[in-house]
Symmetry: C2
Subunit: 237 residues, 2 copies
């Protein structure tokens, strides 16, 4: 396997089909990154206009997922790929599912923003959202980079970052709960903040999933249910 | 395609491989159903012992997912299935992912149970959990039945039930929030109830996903991002 992620074929057209679907996936990834950035700007500014845009822009992402899956099924049926080509096609369909879910979570953040723009600013939690938002944006970007460059070391870094994000999420939730207790009248606004934090935590999980698909692609090893230590062993092999 | 979900092949062994992986998936489904039933019994009784069992029993389910995915990749590589066989193999890997996620959500319910067993009974929300629990257990059972029998009508029913469950979830959340406001000292226990309800709502989504994979398998049509009306049209065709 060379750095294109698939073997070179006598059929030039087959090569192009694999390149095309890989390119579509990375384009979808770029769109999802933008959507997440917008969702975070929306909640930071309390701007329901941006949030409405996010909800509108989620639909083309769903269509991209369907297109990519159809292309992958077509390649499987017509080209009957083996070995690293087969892993590439399977990894692409899995990554597209995770990207679509990240788009959904960005939409959920937008919905919290719209509710908050009607109810008024929450008593707190914005710092925590921005902190987590920056982390998971970085993770998503690195996971997509790792996929584009077949960089299993970078994928491992993403999995490690997810552990940090989960830890930070735990402490952010404690802040949110104590704000709820201090000011029960601000409760439902703090619940909006809480759901947004939850969505960010889920986005971190999906970025980690993408990283795991990269390791599967490069190393041929399913690392979805192993710990970080064992994952690192497979990457170093 | 006959009712086994795949074409009959000259190679008896190939038929058996497809039957085997389908059987493994349904076995995994049965285990996940049991896990969900246990998780619901645990939170109803406030029994941390049952909850610990649920957490322990989630691990074999992860291993079943890995096994099923490996088998599917092996069949794709060696048998190069086409048409309905290809759809069957792709649907099986997707359903196994949803089942694994349902197992995760059952684990999350168990974690709420353990926290509640330490903090004491929550001020309310148990009726809502049981009501939603009964609905999503039914949906999961029907989705797996629809898969086993390639019954696209039953799959459509599951998708419709998900809409009801989402509606019920909305009203259950309003109950939870008003209980939080009435009794701020019970807040963190009500948050445990809230996360359990959220897990049940997610399980409903995964059951719906499984139903959508059944429609893809039988009708060859990706219905993941279409509304119920259009889904019904594809099923009746």
């Amino acid at each position: 396997m060379d750095k294109s992620g698939h073997s070179q074929h006598i059929s030039q057209q087959y090569n192009e089909e694999l390149e095309d679907v890989k390119r579509s996936l990375l384009e979808m990834g770029g769109r999802v990154e933008e959507l997440l950035a917008e969702a975070l700007a929306g909640i930071r500014e309390g701007d329901s206009g941006i949030a409405e845009e996010v909800l509108k822009n989620d639909e083309p992402i769903n269509q991209m997922e369907s297109y990519i899956d159809e292309e992958c099924a077509r390649i499987l049926a017509r080209r009957q790929p083996a070995a690293s080509d087969l892993r590439l096609v399977l990894a692409i369909t899995r990554v597209s599912t995770d990207l679509e879910r990240i788009g959904d979570e960005a939409g959920k953040i937008a919905r919290q923003t719209i509710e908050l723009s009607e109810a008024g600013r929450a008593p707190g939690g914005y710092t925590e959202i921005q902190h987590m938002g920056t982390s998971v944006r970085g993770m998503l970007h690195d996971a997509l980079d790792a996929f584009a460059r077949l960089d299993e070391e970078l994928a491992l870094t993403v999995a490690r970052q997810d552990k940090q994000v989960d830890k930070y999420y735990g402490s952010a939730m404690r802040v949110v709960v104590s704000l709820m207790m201090e000011d029960p009248r601000g409760l439902s606004k703090m619940l909006n903040i809480m759901w947004a934090l939850r969505s960010l935590e889920r986005i971190g999980d999906h970025a980690r999933n993408i990283a795991e698909h990269v390791i599967y692609l490069v190393k041929g090893k399913d690392v979805r249910h192993v710990g970080l230590k064992e994952m690192a062993k497979h990457v170093k092999k």
